[in-house]
Symmetry: C4
Subunit: 238 residues, 4 copies
């Protein structure tokens, strides 16, 4: 009995396992969509009722799934403290605190329903390839994280130095200037913070010359790693 359940919950090779996976994936998508619709303004009371009903149905299913997973697990505690175990718990926990806590904190808790999106990853074995690619470029990514951090610190402190006097409300401190660094180095450029002094503009010129390269390099690295991950996969199949 326990063995049968385990094969349904964890084994995608069997027909029942695949069906169960598809069912949970559908419930996750419905739950995420309901959550998004709930945030729309001016919903009719009827719609809100339907959304709450959907939420409760999803919750019951996810709770049953969570309990079953603990039951069938060979080492229950290992599952509970695993990445997916915590995600599965966070996906149902907020609801059970709704009654006992005051309204404001419940609102804050509801954000955790977003974690259900992570549950989708388990049900997509195809996402494994990203895992392989990530481990291939782990070192380089860490390297670029350090370099980017140093570079962002220097650019934030530099622009603070050049622009603080001219725009004290935008470049209030190095921390405030860091917002400008992020928005500029990723080339998003909202336009809410930009240098106006000649010094600040020339500084930005040099920062962009070097910085845009630094920020966009990881994408190239991941792309080539993903290419390699596929080759490794193809080799295994042979």
């Amino acid at each position: 009995m326990k063995k049968k359940l385990r094969s349904i919950l964890n084994d995608q090779a069997t027909k029942k396992g695949r069906r169960f996976d598809l069912f949970i994936q559908a419930m996750i998508l419905i739950s995420l969509l309901a959550y998004a619709i709930e945030t729309l303004p001016n919903l009719s009371p009827a719609t809100i009722k339907v959304l709450h009903f959907i939420e409760i149905v999803c919750l019951v299913i996810f709770t049953i799934e969570y309990i079953l997973r603990i039951i069938v697990a060979k080492k229950p505690w290992k599952y509970i403290f695993s990445f997916y175990g915590i995600i599965d718990l966070l996906a149902i926990l907020p609801f059970y605190f709704q009654g006992s806590l005051d309204l404001r904190s419940v609102r804050a808790f509801r954000i955790f329903r977003v974690f259900r999106a992570f549950k989708l990853i388990r049900y997509n074995k195809a996402l494994n390839r990203i895992h392989v690619a990530a481990s291939l470029v782990k070192e380089e990514i860490v390297l670029f994280f350090i370099v980017s951090s140093i570079f962002m610190y220097i650019s934030s402190a530099g622009i603070y130095f050049f622009e603080h006097e001219a725009q004290p409300e935008v470049f209030t401190s190095i921390f405030h200037s860091a917002w400008w660094s992020v928005v500029t180095l990723t080339t998003v450029g909202y336009g809410d913070a930009y240098p106006v002094t000649v010094g600040g503009k020339i500084f930005t010129f040099f920062i962009l010359l070097i910085g845009v390269g630094i920020v966009t390099i990881p994408a190239g690295l991941v792309a080539s790693a993903l290419h390699k991950a596929r080759e490794i996969e193809d080799d295994k199949k042979k």
Copy 2:
């Protein structure tokens, strides 16, 4: 007779086939240009007359082309419901509904004239290489579509959580926040929606750190696939 026509319509290897292709390509370009000019404000009545005349000429030619293609096709129904068959129909259909329908819906229908642009693809056999490249990275592209979707959902829900209270008119719901996610993760950054709270800015910082990479990786994948597609083509020629 039918065989001769077929070779003109479908075979670019013959001289007449190439000439026919070039002629239709020119008519498509003229039609698209005329459509664009029609939208200009303050056109003189003479210009409008000329544009309408061009449109009717193009329409007649495209209608004849469509009928001929049905006639010469070995399996007419297969052509009609093929990708190009539907495009060819959509490129002429709007005009024939202009008389029977009221003015407003005709306006909406005229947008379908844009589909003529797709007709150009058939007449550029060179575009086949993109086809080959696309099939090479199909799996990875689907993968990234899923990851990007999950990522965009989380970023939309997250920014909604941080910014809804401070800017209720911009981050009205998760759907409204999705607009911010698209504009930010593609690094377009119009500046019509951006976080103003400290929490929202720090959240954006982490979202950009991971997100910009996710969104730009497919470009690198396609580039390398296109490179491979060329090699495959070169191998075939040998």
Copy 3:
């Protein structure tokens, strides 16, 4: 004598040839800098005098260089109508028309002094590698130019359809909407034109999903071609 001059003007292998190249390169840079400084507002009369003097010196040198190049060329007409021959002429011509034409057209002519920047390319033999790389990906670049054009037409016509009624002054016609397409697909996103309707925003979402990839792919192609161009160069050296 003519042979000696030719070696100085065209041969970078000799010491005199390299010195001549360096001298002309320096003159070009000085001329470009002077041109930029001339556009600054509130220049003192003394500065303007110095700039005019520099301009005349540069002009005399470039004119002598042009005449010498015609003299030493084995086929003078071939040089005159070559790419560099035309650039060399455009770099000096504007000045000689200054006296005979009225003030306004002279202003327009002065823009041609910018062409002197192109002269720098000849004096940098290293730029040849770009030539090699460009010829390697010529076909793909043409291909992407066609695809991008079709894509931009569709996105311009589409956004015009969605946004024209809501923002008639920004999306006045398909041509006006093309400006939005360029700024959005290259992810520049100035913020002077962006969709405000729900339909327009959803349309932009799909356009960006596909479009950003299309526009950024050529960069990847050129990068890999440049890599190959270097390998070809290294092979030749061996």
Copy 4:
């Protein structure tokens, strides 16, 4: 004794060397964080006191480190005028000038504390790979720097020519227009400067068509070089 000190300061292979490195790295991070916090507005006097104390502790440690490095160096002058020697000096110098100089210049001097960030690079041997990769693509990067410069000059002069009359306060001179070129070609697009005339917009269209590629190519080059640098490293290990 001197030999022992040298091994602690310069040799990461020993246990004491690694501990010393970690200690200095921690002090640098604390110092950088303190510097950033100091720029926050409305700090309590107690906080300022703590920050000053941290700064003095860091300074004493860095000064001792600097003196020790001079003592243990086999060729002291070589170290003093090396890249790291100058960085180490710049990281402590500003403080010692605080007393003797007036308030304004001290503020300007404090920016040099940022240079401490560069000290982090020495303590991360992993950053060496970037060194290797940089030397692999040095030539191409220089090449692109030249091409980008020429391209930026032409685009700045061109947009000045098209937009100066319509927006004299934004495109005041070629130098002012260069700010637009930087922000546009890196696709940051703050929205503080953009063309409004038809000529300027068409010019921008062509500039972006070519320019975005030119600016983003170096990132691709560095990514592939980094890939190669890793292979070289792996080969050495074998």
